[in-house]
Assembly symmetry: C2
Homo-oligomer: 508 residues x 2
């Protein structure tokens, strides 16, 4: 058992009762346990109280207590007989607007037993957070959205357990990194005030609830740790992402760009953290694109132009089913290199690979015969425009953050790109299309799903969880919609790489 | 609002947010609330967090917070807009083996809005606690018994709310006085170790759980306060009863006899408390008798012999439906006075009123024409024997307690008789049959359902709730089954009033 995780186990030998010593099970158990709890009180859950008697007698008064650090006290999650211990599992969840990714972790070793991505079933109620908040304002809407996400998360539990022969009741803790609105919807908190000036959420710091309270079908007393947010639009997913990058602990000025549905960007170092978000990035998650998808088996995650034709790679080398974020970035770059699109993203129908579909230009990625479903996989003119709008919003966000601190991209020593993408990404192409600034490439690092990494890190480290609280409270949030220069910056970035080519000197 | 109850309300004026002050709702609410919480931390429930935003905005930043004292901290149960407050209700419950009595209380005034008694639906699984514990040991048995009692309690909630036009979510706290086994079954705690030497329960002190955790359909974050027990057989119902009598606070040596299914007896004063229990008393609750019933409308609660015939009274003056505890005690006394039964309880068939039913003697209480169901109400020979066994067990229990302290009934200054009976009771008849000792009658007091009184008292007084913790831990328990003199005492008391008539000099 990792001794410094949010969950710890303690072995105990308990004195059996007799007619001369008829103290209750709990009393005699606590007498032995209390000295091991660093002075913090013990909170007993109903589930652990149910375990206690059978465990003490079944284990001949030798038991293992599973405890969760919940801040001011320890919560007793479970008691097992020493001669018949149960596995202790944890879930790390990235609760995203578009996708929900969960990892089932063996808490003792930190080993990831299984990992799983599904689309957030709330997608049916709107692609972005704003439309979902609007839906939540309808009568019954909030409760409906809550049920939908609970169903998605509980399906994760069932599937991950089935895959690993685990039992839901062995899941002793869940750490969730989610944006503020997703967490509000999960908990049934009215998000309407987040949508209106001055954009205030019900809370940014979430109490450590129990699974039964939230409605998650794991051990009923399992604590649900939700990463603290900085504001309504800078959520716990950003806090979790920052935790993993160590930006808040180190000197070098850095930028974290989370290419998710909400496109959060943070500029800072160990001295300050300045963040903004815009509904930008969902196209890079595949949202709203005909063939967009998450980085699941069969997703095109790499693509390049070999001078003659497009060469692609799919996740797990499966027949192509669609294209995910890293594939989309590389595709735009490759199209631009090959001339298949021009600087405003317009498809050149004169070139091979470009074609017409019901009067709209598109670019063929995979011929029908090579795909999983026997249908051509293409990127349409509208898809390309969506991607350009999203990359423009992300670039403009970084520019505004820098302008607010009187700095430029030249001052930035590291850029971390987070996203639920494939295994890797051709950084050059991300710069070519102007998603990333034209700085030395070695300063740019692709870090995958940093929110999920942060959630896993906190589950396995109490110190990391505490650090997350400090990080969230030290973030200053910038509201782009009331930032006067934002619209100009955005418009200027609606080209590949940018209207101002002097910003991209290395790109021809 | 009673300022010293377990539930308190606090009015707050909260600063509205602006673009220059975008702290979350909870943060600004807590800033104003914290100074009013006597230094104890605030525990936020999910339900109260859901209320917060709508209440702050609906009340134009003037709100009322409903808080529960849960020991080391305050639990936030609800937040209402000041201009639209909701009622704050509480439930006091006597969770008995045979009956479950609940009172719906307006916490602000202490007013009992409605009161309701139902039979514990677990009766179908066994009349006494032992048979229920045995059932709980079958596969699925514990969970089944738990569901059954939850259903009974949730029906109480629905019915009490319907009667008063209240809403279940306005019930902000529940205080339960129940014996240790009933509480174990309610919580799904395995009671099997209570049934076997050394008779140890899972716990005697129950954590303050939330309604959603326990499965009670009131405000999901409402704290469930369960009176602490002294042992597996001296439960929280006894603690609650003692709280109401003030025996533990005063000098006079006193006895509390709870004529319930488990027949608990406590001897003591402000210096010591000694308790025992035996499965004795359920006949006086009507259990196992052909016409036995609780003190509900139509129950014969008073009965006397006017020299010629039996005169009875029913609860609410309704047509007779059966006979309850106080009626049973008075009936036995009246039968004895009239000669309808002799000192061993045998019916004298020669007298009018005595009759034969399928070869068994019985005594007619109400002719068919006068009853609610058009059927004769009688007490049968077997019923009378059941009652004598129960009164013998209760009397023997008190004698053993006294013997253990080297005292006699002459040293006892007060006897409190608790039971879920009618409004009053002819004490003389209780002495005549030997249920109570032959001491000056003014020392004997009938106090009704003292467990329910204790539960109500604690709901309305934090000090009383704290005092209950001290009381429970200061009770010494005597196990009658391993007490060598008990069987002799019991056998000697199987007569009316007793085999040793010198113990009852005033009874002719």
């Amino acid at each position: 058992m990792k001794p410094d995780g949010l969950i710890k186990q303690v072995s105990l030998s308990v004195e059996p009762p007799s007619l001369n010593d008829t103290a209750s099970d709990l009393e005699r158990f606590q007498k032995n346990l209390s000295p091991l709890l660093d002075g913090r009180p013990l909170q007993t859950t109903l589930a652990s109280l149910r375990d206690l008697g059978p465990a003490l007698r079944g284990g001949e008064w030798q038991v293992v207590a599973t405890l969760a650090d919940i801040g001011d006290s320890w919560r007793l999650i479970r008691v097992d007989p020493t001669n018949h211990p149960s596995p202790v599992l944890g879930l790390a969840i990235d609760l995203g607007t578009t996708t929900v990714v969960a990892e089932l972790i063996e808490v003792g070793t930190g080993k990831v037993l299984a990992s799983r991505l599904v689309y957030n079933a709330q997608k049916e109620y709107g692609v972005d957070v704003t439309t979902r908040m609007m839906y939540a304002e309808r009568p019954g809407g909030l409760s409906e959205l809550r049920q939908v996400i609970l169903t998605t998360m509980n399906e994760h539990v069932v599937a991950l357990c089935a895959e690993t022969n685990g039992r839901p009741e062995d899941i002793a803790a869940i750490v969730i990194a989610g944006n503020t609105i997703m967490i509000h919807l999960l908990l049934g908190l009215d998000p309407s005030s987040i949508r209106r000036e001055p954009y205030v959420p019900a809370t940014t710091v979430f109490p450590i609830l129990t699974a039964v309270e939230v409605g998650l079908n794991v051990n009923s007393g399992a604590p649900i740790y939700m990463f603290p947010a900085a504001s309504g639009y800078i959520g716990g997913d950003v806090t979790a992402g920052l935790l993993g990058t160590h930006i808040p602990d180190e000197e070098p000025l850095s930028i974290l760009i989370d290419i998710g549905t909400n496109g959060e960007t943070v500029l800072g170092n160990n001295g300050f953290l300045l963040a903004c978000s815009g509904s930008a990035g969902s196209a890079f998650e595949g949202c709203g694109l005909e063939w967009g998808m998450a980085a699941q088996p069969g997703a095109i995650d790499r693509i390049r132009f070999d001078g003659d034709r497009l060469i692609y790679h799919t996740v797990d080398d499966q027949p192509a089913r669609g294209i995910c974020g890293s594939g989309l970035i590389e595709a735009l770059g490759a199209f631009l290199q090959s001339g298949l699109i021009n600087r405003s993203g317009r498809v050149n129908l004169a070139l091979p690979g470009a074609q017409n579909f019901k009067g709209h230009p598109e670019i063929l990625l995979v011929p029908a015969a090579d795909t999983a479903r026997g249908k051509e996989i293409t990127l349409r003119q509208g898809d390309i425009e969506n991607l350009i709008r999203d990359k423009a919003a992300l670039y403009a966000g970084s520019r505004i953050l820098l302008a607010n601190t009187g700095m430029t991209f030249d001052d930035v020593e590291r850029i971390f790109i987070a996203g639920n993408f494939g295994q890797s990404l051709e950084i050059e192409q991300a710069v070519r299309i102007g998603l990333l600034p034209d700085i030395p490439r070695e300063r740019i690092k692709f870090i995958g799903n940093s929110s999920l990494t942060g959630a896993r890190t906190a589950l396995l480290s109490r110190d990391a969880w505490r650090r997350a609280q400090e990080i969230a409270s030290s973030i200053t949030c910038l509201e782009l919609t009331i930032e006067p220069r934002y619209f100009d910056e955005y418009t200027a970035a609606l080209f590949l790489p940018h209207t101002d080519l002097s910003l991209f000197p290395s790109i021809l």
